[in-house]
Amino acid sequence: MNGREILLVEDSADDAELTRIAFAEAGIPNRLVVATDGADALDYLFGRGQWQGRDIDQQPALMLLDLNLPKLDGREVLQAIRGDVRTRGLPVVVLTTSVEPFDVEASYALGVNSYIRKPVDFGEFVSAVRQVGQYWLVLNQPRTAWSRATQP
């Protein structure tokens, strides 16, 4: 499992904490960085605002994105990420409570890698998180520019 961070974009503190617990239960050791709105997420990725000076050559291994967010919503965040060469290859998984066909359609049209509905049941959520971690942090081979990873 590579050691890079996971960026969670989530405005609800309850959900961010649940995701943190689920990652711990699933045995995924990567540090979870939480951005509480879409603008904050982009600031993190591009080293602006409160993230001024962050080394943006060290991009997260995975971004988990909620759709309904304050300021910039998830679709706008996706659009910005896919429109910039520095973040074009970042694996983005939408993690949301909505299964409205419109949201699913729009996310794929904007280049999301995967779309997952947050299960209401916590046990199912842990198992979803475990599978997401297994796939994106272990099985998936990222683009070479990203894979100068931090192997011990």
């Binding site: 309850d14 649940l18 909505s98 409205e100 947050k118 209401v120 049941d121 916590f122 959520f125």
Partner: protein, 258 residues
Amino acid sequence: MSPDSHSAPPPASPEDRLAAAEHALQALRSQQEVLAAGISHDLRAPLRAIGSYSSLIAERHADGLSEEGRDYLRRICEASSRMEGLIEGLLDLSHAARASLQARPVDLGLLADWSLTELRDATPGIDIEATVQPDLVALGDERQLKQMFDRLLDNACRFSGSEGAVRVEVSGKREGDRLHLQVRDHGSGFDMRYAARMFEPFQRLHPAEQGAGHGLGLAIVQVIVERHGGRVRAESRPGGGSVFHVELPAAPVAGDGA
């Protein structure tokens, strides 16, 4: 020119009235979509927190609670999962009413088998014995008709007593261009005086202890059947099981020359 031709505006033409009605309908539809999206996201989010944190307490901190505390906690967990079912039902009802229908020949026997498989997986404690007649082919939307079977068969199993075994029969026959489908159970049945009311949203004929759900299942069935230009009715006597009669358009037979 008549004397009052200047005092009253000319009556709107039928075309204008139709256009105005279509406009109003469109506005209502998009309002409903916004509401459904709101239910889907904004009601579910706090519910996830309630359900997840209470199940975490049950898993990790139950030892620190009294017997009474554990009982209250169990009630919270159960209520939150009931509410999840209710939100799911409301969304399905709203989708059933507004989703566009893709009509093509659909093998109802396959859909019924598929529904039964899922139902057996979801209720491992209940032994479901089913007979499904093959070659019932309707003309309709596969996803919606699958949803119809999900709800009808769930209903059949819900009210089939507590002996842990359920018997269900799905059969039908074709008459001209109509298909008459029957879903029969051998459960507790219902009082025929309330036969029409059970298709209205939130109407229940049984208390929760006897298996009642959120009161949306049969309303969803009715919306789906009526959007297919069909009809649904129920027949029963208390203790004697129930039969749901569904009439749907039949798929054209090869060689009909249509």
